[in-house]
Amino acid sequence: MNALAERAFAYDYAVAECGSLRVTIGAAQAMLRASGALWLAAERALVVADLHLEKGSSYASRGQMLPPYDTRETLRRLAAEVTALTPAIIVLLGDTFHDRSSEDRLAADDAQRLRDLARGRTLIWVVGNHDADGPRALPGEVADELSLCGLILRHEPQAGLQPREVAGHLHPAARVRATRGSVRRRCFITDAERLILPAFGAYAGGLNVRDAAFAGLFARSPLAGALGRDRVHAVGWRSLGPD
C-alpha cells in the first residue's frame, strides 16, 4: 500500500452540517456519522457494527470487575442516533453480543431499551463470529448478509478487493499524526469501493488500520474518517501512523 500512497487519489467527500462525512461507496451515497454509525438515507437505514454488548460482565465473570455500564452506554449512543435520524431500518452488523451467553446476562432494563429501539421499525441482526446464532429472545430478523442501496452488508470483510461491500469486524482505528503530536481515534476506512465501519460498542477496542489485517483490502490508499468529538475528520493515508 505504501507504493500506492505516493500518488494521491482525489477522494470525493464533504462534511455535512451535522459533522458527518458524506462519501460515495460504489454508486451509493453514504453518511459517516461522528458516532461511528453509517446512515444510508435512501433506505433510511442506520448501520452499526460490533456493539459487543455485555463485554463488561464477560470480564467480570472471569474476575475482572469492569464497570457494568457498557451495554447501557452503547444503547444510549444508539438511541441518540435513532432519535436524531428516525430510521426505518436498524442494521446491527455483527458481534452485537460479546459472547454467546451475553444475551442471558443482559439486565432487564437494557433488554427493554433494545426492544424499544426496535419498535415500529425493522431490526436486522447480521450475525458475526461472536454471536453466530443471533438473538434468542430479543426481536428482529437474522441474516448472514444483506443487500441495501446496492451495497452488500456483512460482518466480516472478505479477502481481496470487494467492491460495494460494507463490513465491520476489524474495529479500525487511526493514529493521526500532525506536527504538534498524534491522537488515536476509531475510524471509518474506505477506498470508495468498500467501507469498513468502526466498532460502536463502548468497550470495543481498536485495531490500527496500518495493521497487516487490513493489507490487500483496498484498491488504493484508503481514506480514514476519524471520529472527533462532534464530527468526522477526513484523514489521508500519509497522516496515519503506526501505534
Partner: protein, 824 residues
C-alpha cells in the same frame, strides 16, 4: 541520646567488642544507643547521614540476640525482617551483613529475597525461612498474601525499614505501612526499627511507621547519629557564558570534563534520560584522554546497567552520568565528587545525591552544581545556601491511597479469612490510614468484592465472599493466584524495546527499553541519542522501536526535558528571596547580575512575597508573562485555567507555554487592561478546574494507574511471562469515559482525582500559590519584552509534549494536510 556517656558499659557482648577491636573500630554512640533501645523493648528511628554505620546499627541488636541463643537443631524461624526500597540494596546489605557474621563465627542465616531471586531459593525460603530475611516492600506484600502468612511471621522479633525517607510519602509507602500493621498482628512482640537520612521533620516519619493502636509517635524513640562533616558545595559560575535558556548545560561541558579529569571518581547527576544521553555524548566528544566514563539510566538494558555498577564497584570508572537510578543504593567508597548538571529542584534530593560522595563521615562530601541557564543559576545558589544552613524541604504528610488499600484487602483475603471490623482496626493502626473513615473502608471492601458499582449485577461474580461465619474469604484458588501475580504499587509506564532494524521491517538485536511517551516525541527519520549512540528512528511496530545507527548525525533534543521533579516549595521561596535581595546578587556571576539589573531597570523586580506579571505586545500577539516559581506542573494547570477565563473575557487566547519559573499566555486582544485580581481569583479551583480536569488526559492516565493498583485491571496472567505495560486487552480510557458518565462518584474516579490533584496537576500547590499572591500581583505594563521573559519566550514552539495539545487541533491539521495533498 547520641552521647554514649550515659549508656551502660555492658551493652556490647565480648565477642562483638572483640570484633570491633579487631577491625580497629570502636562502636559509635548511636550504635550503642540502638542496642540499648532494643534491650528496653522500644521501637526506634535512627536518623543519620550516609556512611555512619547506620545499617549495622540497625542489625546489631538482632545479631546480639541471635548470638546469645543456645544452638538448636530444630527448624529456624524468621527473627528479623529487613525492608529496602531497592532490590540491589537488599542484595548489597546481605553481603555486608554476612561479613561480620562470618568474621565473628556466628551461626546466623541472612538471605535476600527480591523479584530477581531464583524460584527454587524463593520456594525454600517459604518452607525454611532464614533468621534474617532482606527484601523489598513488594515481596513483603506477596508474603503477606500467601496462605500461612500468620505462621510464617509468628516468631518475628524485629522489622528494620531502611531508607524510609525515600518511601514514606508514596503509594509504596502506603502499602508497606499496611503490611507492617498486618505482621504486627501476627507477631505482637515485633519491634519496629526505622533508618533514615536526615529529614526536615522526623515526626512525619515517626507517624508513618508507628503503631497507632498502641500510642502512635510516642512509642518510637528518636536516635540521632553524628551529623558528619559539612558538605562542600560549589556552583559553577561559567563567567560570561551562562545561557538565557535551555536545559542541556552544553556551555559548561568543557569545565565539567576538566573537573572530572581532576577527580578520582565522579557521579554526574542529571534530571532526565535525554539529558543523560546528551551529557554522555558531549563528554565523550571532549574525552581526549579516553577516561572511562559510563552511562546509567532506567531505560538501558538491565545487563548493561549491572555491568556499569560492577565496573564502578571495582573502581574502574572515572565518571558515571546517571539519573535518579543512582540516587540511593550501593556504597561506592571511591566517589569523591558529585556533579549536579542542571537544576537541583530541591534541597533534600541534593543532600541525598551529595551523600553519594565520600561515604566516610570524617571527610566532607564534595559537590559541584552546574546551572544550565540564568534562572537555574539563582536556583543553584539558593540550593547551595539552603544546604549550608542545613535547611531541607519537607514532604507534606499524605493520606493513604484507597487503591492501595483495595490491593491490600484482597491480599489479606488471599492469606486467610478476615473479619471486617478487626481488619478495619488493623488498617487504622497504620500511619497513612489512621484517619480512614469506616465508610471508605466499607466502600473499598465492596469494591474488592464486586467492583463497587451502584448497579448490582456482579454479585454472583464476587472475588471475595462473606461466609456463614461472618468472615470474608477469597472466592477460589485461581482468584488468589491471579492476585499474587499482580501485587505491588509501582506502575511503570509502557516500555518498548529498542531494536536495530533488519531487512523486511523486522527487529534485530535489542539495545534497551524506552518509555512509550518518549517515542511519541519522535517522527520516523528523526535522530536521537540512546545508550550513548546516535540512532535514526525507522519505525515503531507493536512492541518494538526499530532504529538504525546514525553516527555523526546531529541528534534532536526534545525541549520538554526540563525535569520530572517539580521545584520544591521551599527552594522556590529561597529563589524568590535571592532575586529580591539585591545585596545578595554578589554571589552571582557578572552576566547573570547584569541580567537582573536590566530586569530591574526595564521592568521591575518584585518584592519577596509578590508575583510579577508583565504584559507587552510582540509581533501581532499580545503577551502576558507571570513568574510564580511553582514548578511546571502547577504552571501548566494554571495556564489551562487562565486560558479558559481569558476566553470568557473575550481576550481570544491563542496559546501558552510553561517552565518551572514562569508561564506565558498570548492572545489576539491586548491584555494590560484585564482585571488581574479577578483573573487569578482562587475560585478558578472550583468549576473551571473540575470541567477541565474531567476531560484531561492526566485524569485518564491517573485512572489507569489506580485501576492497575486496585486490581480492576490485571497486568499479568498465570502462564504469561512477558512484562509489558501494553498487554491490557481493552482501553482504560473507554472505561474511564463510561464510568464517569454512569457512576461519577465511583471509588476509582475519586482515587484518580486525588492522584491527579496531588501529582500530575499539582492543584494543592496551585491553591497555596493563589492564596499567597492574593492582592500581591505586581503588574508591569511594558512596551517591549523584559529580560526575564526571554527564557520562557524562547521555549515557544519547542514544546511538543503529548496530551497538552488539543486533540481536535491535531485532527484539523491532518485534515488540512489531506486537502493540501488533494490540491497538489
Amino acid at each position: 541520646m547520641a552521647d554514649s556517656a550515659g549508656l551502660p558499659a555492658d551493652l556490647l557482648p565480648p565477642r562483638f567488642a572483640d570484633w570491633f577491636a579487631s577491625r580497629g573500630w570502636s562502636p559509635r554512640a548511636h550504635q550503642l544507643a540502638m542496642i540499648e533501645r532494643a534491650r528496653a523493648g522500644r521501637d526506634s528511628l535512627l536518623i543519620a547521614p550516609t556512611g555512619g554505620g547506620k545499617t549495622l546499627a540497625g542489625f546489631l541488636p538482632t545479631l546480639i540476640d541471635l548470638a546469645s541463643q543456645p544452638p538448636s537443631n530444630g527448624p529456624t524461624s524468621l527473627h528479623t525482617l529487613y525492608i529496602s526500597p531497592l532490590k540491589a540494596l537488599a542484595v548489597d546489605v546481605e553481603r555486608n551483613l554476612n561479613a561480620p557474621i562470618a568474621q565473628m563465627g556466628l551461626r546466623i542465616t541472612a538471605e535476600s529475597r527480591t523479584g530477581d531471586t531464583g524460584i527454587s531459593r524463593r520456594q525454600r525460603q517459604r518452607v525454611k525461612p532464614p533468621e534474617i530475611l532482606l527484601t523489598t516492600p513488594e515481596q513483603l506484600a506477596l508474603l503477606c498474601a500467601w496462605e500461612g502468612a500468620r505462621l510464617y511471621f509468628e516468631n518475628l522479633e524485629c522489622v528494620i525499614l531502611d531508607e524510609i525517607h525515600t518511601l514514606h510519602a508514596s503509594k509504596r509507602g502506603d502499602l508497606l505501612a499496611l503490611d507492617l500493621a498486618r505482621i504486627s498482628q501476627f507477631a505482637p512482640r515485633m519491634r519496629r526499627v526505622g533508618l533514615s537520612a536526615t529529614v526536615d521533620d522526623p515526626e512525619v516519619i515517626k507517624a508513618w511507621m508507628a503503631d497507632h493502636a498502641k500510642g502512635g509517635n510516642d512509642t518510637i524513640d528518636l536516635v540521632r547519629g553524628p551529623p558528619g562533616a559539612e558538605p562542600v558545595v560549589e556552583v559553577l559560575l561559567s563567567e560570561g557564558k551562562v545561557p538565557w535558556a535551555g536545559h542541556t548545560a552544553q556551555h559548561a561541558m568543557q569545565e565539567v570534563y576538566d573537573v572530572i579529569a581532576k577527580s578520582r571518581t565522579a557521579l554526574v547527576f542529571v534530571n532526565t534520560r535525554f539529558q543523560a544521553e546528551f551529557a554522555f555524548q558531549e563528554l565523550w566528544r571532549l574525552n581526549e584522554d579516553a577516561l572511562p566514563i559510563a552511562l546509567h539510566h532506567g531505560s538501558l538494558a538491565a545487563e548493561q546497567r549491572r555491568k556499569v555498577e560492577a565496573a564502578m564497584a571495582r573502581g574502574e570508572l572515572r565518571a558515571v552520568v546517571c539519573t535518579s537510578t543512582l540516587d540511593l543504593g550501593i556504597d561506592w567508597g571511591d566517589v569523591d565528587l558529585v556533579i549536579q548538571l542542571a537544576s537541583p529542584k530541591g534541597a533534600s534530593r541534593m543532600v541525598q545525591r551529595i551523600g553519594r560522595a565520600n561515604h566516610r563521615l570524617d571527610e566532607p562530601s564534595r559537590a559541584l552544581f552546574v546551572p544550565a541557564n540564568r534562572f537555574e543559576m539563582l536556583e543553584c545558589q539558593a540550593a547551595r545556601e539552603a544546604i549550608a544552613e542545613n535547611k531541607l524541604d519537607g514532604d507534606p504528610p499524605r493520606l493513604g491511597a484507597l487503591d492501595v488499600l483495595a490491593q491490600h484487602v484482597m491480599g489479606c483475603a488471599c492469606s486467610e479469612p478476615f473479619d471486617m471490623l478487626r481488619l478495619y482496626d488493623e488498617v487504622t493502626s497504620s500511619g497513612p490510614y489512621r484517619a480512614l473513615p469506616w465508610e471508605d473502608f466499607e466502600q473499598v471492601v465492596d469494591f474488592v468484592s464486586t467492583g463497587g458499582y451502584a448497579l448490582k449485577t456482579y454479585d454472583r461474580f464476587r472475588r471475595i465472599v462473606k461466609g456463614q461465619d461472618g468472615l470474608w474469604r477469597v472466592r477460589n484458588l485461581e482468584t488468589a493466584q491471579r492476585h499474587r501475580l499482580n501485587v505491588g504499587a509501582i506502575v511503570s509506564p509502557a516500555m518498548l524495546a529498542v531494536r536495530i532494524a533488519m531487512r523486511g521491517g523486522r527487529g534485530g538485536r535489542k539495545i534497551g527499553e524506552i518509555e512509550e511517551g518518549m517515542v511519541e516525541m519522535l517522527e520516523p527519520g528523526e535522530t536521537f541519542v540512546f545508550a550513548g549512540q546516535v540512532w535514526r528512528l525507522v519505525a515503531v511496530t507493536n512492541l518494538d522501536v526499530l532504529v538504525q545507527p546514525a553516527p555523526g548525525a546531529d541528534p534532536k533534543m526534545p525541549s520538554w526535558g526540563g525535569s520530572k521533579f517539580a521545584l520544591s516549595t521551599y527552594l522556590a521561596k529561597r529563589v524568590r528571596q535571592l532575586m529580591y535581595d539585591q545585596a545578595h546578587w554578589s554571589v552571582l556571576p557578572a552576566d547573570v547580575r547584569e541580567w537582573l539589573e536590566a530586569q530591574r531597570d526595564r521592568s521591575l523586580i518584585p518584592e519577596e512575597d509578590e508575583m510579577l506579571l508583565e504584559t507587552f505586545a510582540r509581533g501581532h500577539r499580545q503577551f502576558m508573562v507571570c513568574y510564580p516559581f511553582e514548578g511546571r506542573l502547577a504552571h501548566t494547570t494554571l495556564a489551562m485555567l487562565l486560558t479558559r477565563r481569558l476566553e470568557r473575557m473575550g481576550r481570544g487566547p491563542l496559546g501558552f507555554v510553561c517552565n518551572d519559573y514562569a508561564l506565558a499566555v498570548w492572545a489576539i486582544k491586548p491584555l494590560e487592561a484585564v482585571d488581574f485580581a479577578e483573573l487569578f481569583d482562587e475560585d478558578m479551583l472550583g468549576d473551571d478546574l473540575e470541567a477541565w480536569l474531567a476531560e484531561s488526559f492526566m485524569m485518564k492516565r491517573a485512572f489507569k494507574g489506580c485501576a492497575i493498583i486496585a486490581g480492576l485491571i490485571e497486568r499479568r496472567f498465570p502462564g504469561q511471562t512477558q512484562k509489558s505495560g501494553r498487554q491490557i486487552t481493552f482501553s482504560t480510557d473507554l472505561i474511564y469515559d463510561t464510568l464517569r458518565r454512569h457512576q461519577p462518584d465511583h471509588l476509582l474516579l475519586r482515587c484518580a482525582r486525588d492522584d491527579a490533584a496531588t501529582g500530575l496537576v499539582d492543584v494543592a500547590r496551585l491553591g497555596q500559590m493563589l492564596a499567597r499572591i492574593k492582592g500581591r500581583i505586581r503588574h508591569s505594563p511594558l512596551e517591549h519584552l523584559s529580560p526575564f521573559s526571554v527564557p520562557i519566550l524562547l521555549e515557544i514552539g519547542k514544546e511538543r509534549s503529548p496530551g497538552h495539545s488539543g486533540e481536535t487541533m491535531i485532527l484539523r491539521e491532518a485534515e488540512e494536510d489531506l486537502i493540501a495533498e488533494a490540491l497538489q
